[in-house]
Subunit: 340 residues, 2 copies
DNA sequence: CCTGGCACTCGACTGTAACGAGTGCCAGTC
DNA sequence: GACTGGCACTCGTTACAGTCGAGTGCCAGG
């Protein structure tokens, strides 16, 4: 029941044509547009087999064939040829590098770039706190009983939290607190901090003990528990390309899913190192996104991965192109981060 | 050519019915659902006048009437009765207050709340830097030639920027720099800082001069020039309610507009104090949003205004309800901010 | 000034027919 | 045995005609 080379070529042709025309493709059109070297009738036979195997289907009897999710999967795994970026695309990616002034800027530029290049919805996860280390902790007195805790991570992320102290704390004590927490925590990975924070409380002098206890609670919340992942999104307007054909006229579930950070994180955040992941149609776990595909990968300075990025679009998308662009952008962002 | 009371009542009834049913409303249905005390024929005459005056129109000859933008305008200005919030809505607003830990949290909760209450797209502007004062400036050494500048504003906003120094600066000098900039700038409104920053450079000692010069450039950029306004958005999925009837089936322009921060800022950011602004259909300046209306207002602690918030939806929206909710939410957010 | 009545308009819906893209199958060819 | 041309068949799309009915404008009468 194997598929010989020609049948695979037919499948590839169907996917490519359908992606570009958005219309079910028939046997006649297929032989006209591709050099298959056989007649429509032969192609029809091959199509019948491909359909039997579940790679393509007919929307209705008198229509051409359309790839199924399974067909796209085979295409992505075995049939797609790498699509080199055009010079224009390359230039666009390089140009976006210049002039980014901080992490926010980098992320925003990246997500817009990705949306523009792929003409899909782009998603970029900020560098995950879980994969960051503490660079510096700052305590800024707001009033005698309030501090602003600012945590600066090595990935460039800056988190702030208000700390309500149990009682007034003099400025000198704040200085001590600042010194203590930095001595203990600076350089530590955020995931390793809980015991260190615990130690801080135990080692604190009696005067500092109450303030340090409160502070430690907030520290743990900020550093570990709330684990606030952030996401940037762009290009939602691209969902409306292709009229209402994609997503069978109902953008609703897609838009709803895109508003859930949890969903997006699941889609692009689970990064095995340096692979590009492709989720096609119902391969992803969310019902709302059955009609969508996701191409994602991890990024980070050097070989480490600090976050994920990717694009989301209709299953009928240009997989080779999007894969190439997602990879390229991830690599450039990694380089950019490495410079800091 | 004035409109007597009954004609106004008819217009009000048309708006209310059309908003709730989403279908052109005819004379017969109107007298059935409202106590107008007259016959359909009379209503028809009134309708003819209202149409002549441009307040309503017929989508086609054999259909009922639909309000025009001008009709909505009149309705909002003179006919709508304030709609008190339901207890459930009140409770929802109060509940959202509890447990907000920082500005980001407040803004995100607010925008989601607003989207959920109004079932429209909600937009919240972060407290504007232009209306903030400097609370504290922090300089964190990243390497010998790099600093992270962190600015904490009294509105709770925290901005960071990387500073590339012209040469190595010893730790003691960083301390001096920190002290100097805080002495000069802490408490100042951001819009008042340029001369102060200038003075900083002039007064700096020769050793600090080069570093201070670089720092001042970044300060000016961060504090004044880039004036980075931030926006949070939620509820885009609500655009798909009412099927494709609203926005005549093309969400595209709306989604595109929503991705432009500049556009959103114009819509909700221009706040005259303590008024609620309603922009109906083509009253706003963006072609993309001709089919949409915006209800917005300013918010801030006490009587001052630090930012705007609002909702965007089809012109066929529940103006009284949305106005009430936007106001209520703005007031609550103001109270919340005042507590900090 | 309001009302009932009436003719009229025109979109929505229904049913029918013609069309055509595309298929599956089969007999014939290399 | 694999491929091909031919052919009957399916079924969605389009066009057209006819009916229906919601809603109107207008008018004569109260």
């Amino acid at each position: 029941m194997g598929l010989d080379d020609r049948k695979l070529a037919v499948l590839r042709a169907i996917v490519e044509d359908y992606v570009s025309t958005q219309e079910p493709v028939g046997s006649k059109a297929l032989v006209e547009r591709h050099q298959l070297g056989v007649s429509p009738a032969t192609v029809r036979n091959d199509m019948a087999v491909l359909e039997e195997e579940g790679y393509i289907r007919q929307p209705h009897t008198s229509a051409g064939r359309v790839p199924t999710d399974r067909g796209y999967r085979l295409f992505v795994d075995r049939l797609s040829r790498v699509k080199p970026l055009s010079p224009a695309e390359r230039r666009a990616i390089e140009r976006f590098l210049v002039g980014a002034v901080d992490l926010d800027d980098v992320v925003h530029r990246t997500v817009r770039l990705l949306a523009q290049l792929t003409r899909q919805v782009a998603v970029v996860q900020y560098p995950s706190l879980a994969r960051s280390s503490v660079r510096h902790l700052e305590l800024v007195p707001i009033s005698t009983t309030r501090l602003m805790l600012v945590m600066i991570a090595d990935t460039g992320r800056v988190e702030q939290r208000l700390v309500e102290l149990p009682g007034p704390v003099p400025a000198d004590d704040v200085t001590d607190l600042r010194r203590l927490v930095n001595e203990k925590l600076a350089g530590a990975r955020l995931s390793d901090t809980p015991p260190l924070v615990q130690a801080l409380v135990e080692e604190a002098s009696p005067e500092l003990r109450p303030a340090m206890t409160t502070l430690s609670t907030v520290l743990l919340e900020t550093l570990v528990e709330r684990h606030e992942e952030r996401i940037a999104l762009a290009g939602t307007a691209n969902l409306t390309r292709g009229g209402l054909l994609d997503f069978q006229g109902s953008l609703r579930p897609i838009l709803e899913a895109l508003e859930e950070e949890v969903v997006l994180l699941k889609l692009i955040g689970e990064t095995e190192p340096s692979t590009t992941r492709v989720l096609i149609g119902d391969e992803n776990e969310f019902d709302n996104l059955r009609a969508a595909s996701v191409v994602s990968t991890g990024y980070g300075p050097g070989a480490t991965i600090v976050g994920g990025l990717g694009v989301l679009g209709p299953t009928r998308m240009d997989y080779p192109g999007n894969i190439a662009m997602v990879r390229a952008v991830a690599r450039y962002v990694g380089e950019l981060l490495a410079q800091n």
